[in-house]
Symmetry: C2
Subunit: 478 residues, 2 copies
C-alpha cells in the first residue's frame, strides 16, 4: 500500500521551492532513483528511454555528418592523464582512482575517465600516419566519472552518461568548422526536438574547457531563470597534438601536427527538459522526445465494446504516433494523474457515450485543454495536435527567455537585475578576467557566453567602465 | 608509408598458428587495437559497428518480450557486493577497487562492477512492494570490469561490453520460463543472424554462475574445435531475494520473496564471429550482421561513364542492401584485398566492358566464387545472393560442429578423442563433481553443458564407470 500512496502524493509546488519541486519530479515521475553509492543515480525506465531517444536522434545526425563510433577503455593511466598540462590541472582533482586489481596493488594508478581526450590522442598518435588518414571523426557513447561534493540527479552526478566526439583534422580551419558544425547540431536538437531555445556563443577564457583554445556553448534558461550549459564544443588548436605527438605526413611528405576538437552532450539535458517544461502536476515532455506520445484511457471499460473500440483505434494510431493503452484495473482518475506525472503529451479518453457519438476527448498535458476529436480522422488530428503542443512548448520557453533577459550598463544596474528578477543579464565587458571574477564574487552570476550574435548594448564595461570588447550574457547557473 | 605497407601484409595462416591468425585478423581488419591500459582494448569503428548491430537486434527482441532498459551505477560498495555469499566468493578476487575520490581516501572501497546482480537487487528491494509491481523485466547495456591475468581482444579483456538482464517474478515457474525464453532468444540470434550453430544446455553445478541455482548456456564450436560459451541465462531461485530481502505482498496481502533471473551476451561473440567464419584473407562476416553488405568497385573508373553508372546502381541498391562505393584513387587490386580483409560479404565490380554488356561481376567473400549478374535485376539477385551466403556460412559451421563431435565410452576413448581430433566429445556422466574434475585435470577438457536434447550414448559414466545420469558435451574452451 506504500506504493499506492506514493503515486498520488502531491509534489512540492514549483513556485514554493524550485529545488524540492525538481527532486520531486525526478522521483515521482520515476526518471531516476538514488543508489547506495553517494552521488550516483539509478536511471529508471522512463529516464533511460529518454536518453535512448536522445542517443538515436544525435547519433543519426553525427553519422549523417560522417562520424563513426568507437569504444575506448574506461580507465586512464595516471601518466597518460598528465601529458597535457592544462587538462590534467582541470581534471585531476575530481577523478576516482583505481589502486587495486583483485588483491594486488597496481604499479600505476588508473583513473576512471572524467573525459577521454588523452585516450583518443594516444590512439590517434598510433593510427594517424598520412593525410589519407584524415579527418578522423570519432565519437563514443559512454559514462564518465567526476568526484563531486554536492550532487543532484541528472544535473550533477558522480557518474553521468554522455557522448564525446573527438576529431582530428589536417587544417586549423577545418577543425574550427567542425567545432561550429557540432554546436549547430546540438542547438538544432535542443530547439527542434527538446523545444528548448538556446543562446549560442563562445565561453570566456576563464570558463573554457581545460586544454581548449576555444569553447563554444549552447546556454538554456530554466524556469527559475537560471542557466544550464546544455552542450559544448571545443577547438583544441594543435595543443594536444603537440603534447601527444600526433603528426601526419602531408601530400608533400612533410610532417604536420593535426588540429583537434571535442564536443559533448550529457544526461544533464534531461534535467533541462524537466526545468524548462514541467509543472506542478509532474513532468511535461515535448512530443518529439516523449517515449509515449499518446495514452488512451478507456472510460467505463467494463461496458461492452469499449475495450475493443479502444484497441481498434490504438492499432490505427500506431502507424502515426507512439501510443499506449492503459486498460489496467485502476480508476480513470488515478490513471489521469499517473500519466500526467509521467509527462505523456496527450491523453485520449474514450467511453460508451464517446463511441455513440463517434468521438474521443483529447486532453493536452501542457495546458490541460480538452478537445473533442472525430474518431474517423484521428490519424490526422492527433499528429497535428502533437505538433501544436511541440510548438507551443517552444514558444513559451522562448518568450520566457526573452522576457527574463535584463540589460545592465553598470555595476549597480547589474546587481539590481540579478537580485530582483530571475533570468539573464546582457552587459558589455572589457575582456579582463578581473572584471569577470568581480562580478561573480559580488553577484553570484557567471559569464555564460559571448553570444555569436553580438548586438552591443553599450560601449563600456559593465564592471570597470573601460572600453568594452564584447557583449556577454551573464547568469546564475546550474 | 608504414600504413600503406601494413594493409597488404599477409596475415598468419589459420592452420599454422590459430592464435596468431586470430590476433592478426583483429588488428588488420581493424576491429580492435591495444590501449595503454593492460588488458583493455580500443574497439575500432568496424568492431563498434558490429556491436551496435548486435545491440539493435537483441534490444528489439528484448523489448518485444516486454523488457525495458535502465542504467545502474558502475560502482558497487564493498558491503553491498558481500551480501550474497556465493556471489562475492566468485567475483571479489577479480574486481578493480576504487579507493580514492579526488585527493580523499574513501571510507568504503567501491568496486567497478564485474556484474550487477547486487545493484539490481538493492534497487528491487526499494521499488518492489506489491504483486502489481511484478514482473520487473530490466536490462542494461554497459561495460563491466574483471581483472584478468591473461587477456585476448574480445575473448577475455579486463573491461568488456555486454548487456545484462535482471528480472524479478512472482513465481518460480515464471522465472524459469523467463530463463529459457532468453536463452532461446540468444540461440536464435546466434544461429539466424551470426550464422553460428549452438548447443543449448544446462551447466553442471561446478560450471554455473556464482549465486545461481541453474545456469543455461549456448555453446558454439570455433574453427579449431574449441568451445566458446556464447551467452548464459541464470535462474537464481529466491537466494538473492532472501539475501537482499526483496519481498512483495501478494493478492492475499501475504509477504512473498520474488524469484529472479539474469542473462547476458557480451562482446565475446565478436571473437566467435571471427573464429567461426574467417579465413586466411581476413574477416568473413555473415551478411545479416555485416555493417556493409556490398562494396562496389568501379574498374577503370577514369573512363567516361563508369563512376556515374556505379553511383546510379548504388542508389538503386541502397533500398535493399547496405552498400558502399569505393571510388578512392587506389588500384582495384588494393581495394579487393582491403575489403576482403574487412569481411564485406559481396563485392561488385563494374567496368566499361561490363557496362557495355549490361552486367556486373559479383565476387563472394566466403568462397571467392565469381558470378555475372544482369544490371537490370540487381535488386533481386544481390539480396538473394546474400541470403545464400548467409545460409552457406551457417551450413558449413553446422557441418563442422557435427563432424567434430566424438563419442567416448571410457577414459581411454575420451583421452584419445581429445588428443587426436579437434572438437567436442559427447560422453555420459554419473553426476559426481570428482569425475568432472578428473577429466579436466587429465585432458584439459571441461564440461560445456548437459544438452537439453538428451540422446544417451551409453549407460555408464565415462570416468568412473558407475551408472550415468546425464549426457554431457565436453571440450577445451576459450
Amino acid at each position: 500500500m506504500a506504493k499506492e500512496k506514493k503515486r498520488v502524493e502531491r509534489i512540492t509546488a514549483r513556485d514554493v521551492d524550485f529545488a524540492q519541486w525538481y527532486t520531486d519530479i525526478v522521483r515521482h515521475a520515476e526518471l531516476a532513483d538514488y543508489s547506495s553509492i553517494k552521488g550516483c543515480m539509478i536511471i529508471r525506465p522512463l529516464g533511460t528511454a529518454l536518453w535512448e531517444r536522445i542517443h538515436d536522434y544525435l547519433d543519426e545526425a553525427f553519422k549523417k555528418t560522417g562520424h563513426t563510433n568507437v569504444l575506448m577503455p574506461m580507465f586512464i593511466p595516471e601518466g597518460l592523464l598528465q601529458k597535457e598540462k592544462d587538462h590534467v590541472e582541470g581534471f585531476a582533482p575530481e577523478v576516482a582512482w583505481v589502486t587495486h586489481g583483485g588483491s594486488e596493488a597496481l604499479q600505476e594508478r588508473l583513473c576512471v575517465r572524467p573525459t577521454s581526450e588523452t585516450l583518443f590522442c594516444d590512439h590517434y598518435a598510433n593510427i594517424i600516419q598520412s593525410w589519407r588518414d584524415l579527418p578522423k571523426l570519432y565519437n563514443q557513447w559512454v559514462s564518465v566519472v567526476r568526484w563531486e561534493k554536492t550532487t543532484r540527479p541528472f544535473l550533477r552526478t558522480t557518474e553521468f552518461f554522455w557522448q564525446e566526439g573527438h576529431t582530428a583534422h589536417a587544417t586549423r580551419e577545418e577543425a574550427i568548422q567542425e567545432t561550429h558544425q557540432m554546436l549547430n547540431i546540438y542547438a538544432d536538437f535542443l530547439e527542434n526536438i527538446l523545444a528548448i531555445p538556446v543562446i549560442k556563443g563562445q565561453k570566456t577564457d576563464k570558463e573554457k574547457f581545460a586544454g581548449a583554445e576555444e569553447t563554444y556553448t549552447v546556454e538554456a534558461m530554466m524556469h527559475d531563470g537560471k542557466a544550464l550549459q546544455s552542450a559544448t564544443s571545443h577547438f583544441f588548436g594543435d595543443g594536444f597534438a603537440r603534447a601527444f605527438n600526433i603528426q601526419y605526413s602531408d601530400q608533400n611528405n612533410q610532417l604536420q601536427y593535426v588540429w583537434q576538437t571535442s564536443w559533448g552532450m550529457s544526461t544533464r539535458v534531461i534535467g533541462a527538459l524537466i526545468m524548462v517544461h514541467s509543472d506542478d502536476s509532474g513532468l511535461v515532455l515535448p512530443p518529439k522526445i516523449a517515449p509515449t506520445q499518446v495514452v488512451m484511457i478507456p472510460v467505463a471499460q467494463h461496458k461492452p465494446g469499449v475495450l475493443e473500440k479502444v484497441a481498434e483505434i490504438a492499432k490505427r494510431l500506431e502507424s502515426v504516433v507512439r501510443v499506449k493503452v492503459d486498460d489496467s484495473d485502476r480508476m480513470p482518475g488515478w490513471k489521469f494523474s499517473e500519466h500526467e506525472m509521467h509527462g505523456i503529451p496527450l491523453r485520449l479518453e474514450i467511453g460508451p457515450r464517446d463511441i455513440e457519438q463517434n468521438q474521443a476527448v483529447a486532453c493536452r498535458r501542457d495546458n490541460g485543454e480538452k478537445i473533442t476529436l472525430d474518431l474517423d480522422h484521428l490519424e490526422e488530428t492527433v499528429p497535428s495536435l502533437l505538433e501544436t503542443i511541440q510548438q507551443d512548448l517552444y514558444d513559451q520557453a522562448k518568450k520566457r527567455l526573452e522576457n527574463q533577459m535584463s540589460t545592465a550598463q553598470n555595476q549597480v544596474e547589474f546587481a539590481e537585475a540579478i537580485a530582483n528578477k530571475p533570468g539573464f543579464v546582457q552587459a558589455m565587458w572589457c575582456g579582463d578576467e578581473a572584471c569577470e571574477l568581480k562580478i561573480k564574487e559580488e553577484t553570484g552570476a557567471t559569464s555564460r557566453c559571448m553570444p555569436f550574435k553580438q548586438t552591443p548594448v553599450g560601449d563600456t564595461c559593465v564592471c570597470c567602465g573601460k572600453p568594452a570588447k564584447k557583449l556577454v550574457i551573464w547568469g546564475k547557473a546550474y
